[in-house]
């Protein structure tokens, strides 16, 4: 069968904060960009972030994620050099650099000169008996149902994980009218920022640190959850079980980068726990080991939205530059973006990310 292939300058896969900023930076330099996202709204994870952002210093902290998404999306859609396709899933990245795309049942192929992969991350699961029962969701999934569609998945929820996401989603579920039975956290301390944790504590939600979920019960759907305590070695302590009658369990136990397309493209990956799992090796411009293929955002390592935006901009800037665009002022802009990114990752909060990055940065 004869297949038509369109040649394009820069393709950006994923329209979250990283992809949106990559597209804007490249197009502002003068390159033609096609942006593809499988959802029919641009903005990625940000479209469900109704809380004021935890953020580092001046970088948009205290703005709501949905507003940042709306602003960037507006700029992208009105940019004459960007074509944004929604409902468009990139299903394959072939050896010869061709992308396979499906949009509403139609399949077409693109051969971009540069590709920026900004596909984000997926939520991790946790191993416990009955963890596959309907009613057990990733915390982000419940956030999508509640904040995007206005639908509650159940009446009473147990949240597993007291990091920022677990605690923020718990608060949002309370706001939306669900009962939060408890939050459990395997670590001895709450990982979330104190402002968010204090809000759920004030609402009367108990947070059990050094606890984990033992098992779920239910025939067709979740009806009950049992938690137990962990000792200093992280081993469960029999006899410390507590039961909760809940119809929903949310898992907020971390994200892992979505790197399938990069793996298909032949990019070298490394397993780096600090960045969430397998991530591509890359240089300071976010270019992977396959020339012309870039990565940015959570796909490059699970971090947060401001870092995703700056990585996207750096990748977009370099992709355009390497095609001969934006030569004037390139060095200044690059240095400025790199400086912002470095300051974001400075200090004790950025320690984990810096350690992880040291293992994947080459050249």
């Amino acid at each position: 069968m004869q297949q038509e292939i369109s040649f394009v300058e820069i393709a950006v896969i994923g329209g979250g904060p990283a992809g949106l900023c990559a597209a804007l930076e490249a197009a502002n330099a003068g390159a033609r960009v096609i942006l593809l996202d499988r959802q029919d709204r641009l903005g990625g994870q940000l479209i469900k972030q109704t809380h004021r952002f935890f953020g580092s210093r001046s970088h948009r902290a205290s703005e709501r994620g949905i507003n940042i998404a709306a602003e960037l999306t507006g700029q992208v859609i009105s940019h004459p050099l960007i074509e944004a396709l929604t409902g468009a899933t990139v299903f394959g990245f072939y050896e010869d650099g061709v992308l396979g795309v499906e949009q509403e049942g139609r399949v077409f192929y693109l051969k971009p000169s540069r590709v920026i992969v900004a596909t984000g991350a997926s939520e991790k699961n946790l191993a416990f008996p009955n963890n596959d029962l309907p009613g057990i969701y990733g915390a982000g999934a419940v956030q999508t149902l509640v904040n995007v569609y206005g639908i509650l998945p159940g009446k009473r929820v147990l949240m597993v994980g007291a990091g920022n996401i677990g605690v923020i989603v718990s608060y949002q579920l309370l706001q939306a009218g669900m009962e939060v039975a408890a939050i459990v956290e395997a670590a001895p301390r709450i990982g979330a920022y104190w402002v968010h944790a204090a809000k759920v504590r004030r609402a009367g939600v108990p947070i059990y640190t050094s606890h984990t979920i033992k098992r779920a019960y239910g025939e067709q759907e979740v009806e009950e959850a049992v938690i137990w305590q962990l000792d200093e070695q992280g081993q469960p302590v029999p006899g410390t079980e507590k039961d909760f009658a809940v119809d929903t369990i949310c898992l907020s136990v971390g994200l892992s980068p979505l790197v399938e397309l990069l793996a298909q493209a032949g990019c070298r990956l490394a397993y780096v726990p600090q960045l969430g799992g397998h991530v591509p090796l890359r240089d300071a411009n976010l270019q992977t080991t396959v020339p012309g293929v870039y990565v940015a955002g959570d796909a490059a390592g699970v971090e947060e939205a401001s870092a995703a935006m700056m990585e996207g901009a750096l990748a977009g800037l370099h992709a355009a530059y390497s095609l001969g665009y934006g030569r004037a002022g390139y060095e200044d802009r690059r240095r400025e973006l790199q400086h912002q990114l470095d300051s974001l990752r400075s200090g004790p909060v950025g320690e984990k990310i810096r350690t992880g990055l040291a293992r994947v940065l080459a050249g």
Binding site: T50, D132, P134, G138, A141, L145, I151, Q175
Partner: protein
């Protein structure tokens, strides 16, 4: 269950749409996913796993995990967490792997 009042968000729902799930008629809204419409009706079991026949529901809600595969208008393995609801859709819970190719086609 649908949220009617929310302190931060306002939900602008589209036109009402009729669809069927396992032969029974339901109503959802234009612009929402099949998963959202089913959850609004309290339906959380989407299929039965092929080998151990375990019930399966939604896990990621963004098209990553394939936990939510259902048969839609006769086509199996549709990720209903990202597939939009359309008028008259016939949605069925899926048992097993789904038959894509039937003899005679």
């Amino acid at each position: 269950m649908r949220i009617e009042q929310h302190p931060v968000l306002e939900f602008r729902r589209g036109k009402k749409i009729k669809f069927t799930f396992d032969g029974k008629e339901y109503v959802g809204y234009e612009g929402e996913t099949i998963a959202a419409a089913l959850h609004a009706a309290g339906i959380r079991v989407m299929r039965e796993s092929p080998v151990l026949h375990r019930p399966r529901g939604l896990f990621c809600a963004i098209g990553n995990c394939s936990s939510c595969l259902m048969t839609v208008n006769g086509e199996p393995n549709v990720r209903i967490c990202v597939e939009k609801l359309r008028p008259g859709m016939v949605v069925e819970s899926q048992k097993g792997k789904g038959v894509v190719y039937a003899a005679g086609n």
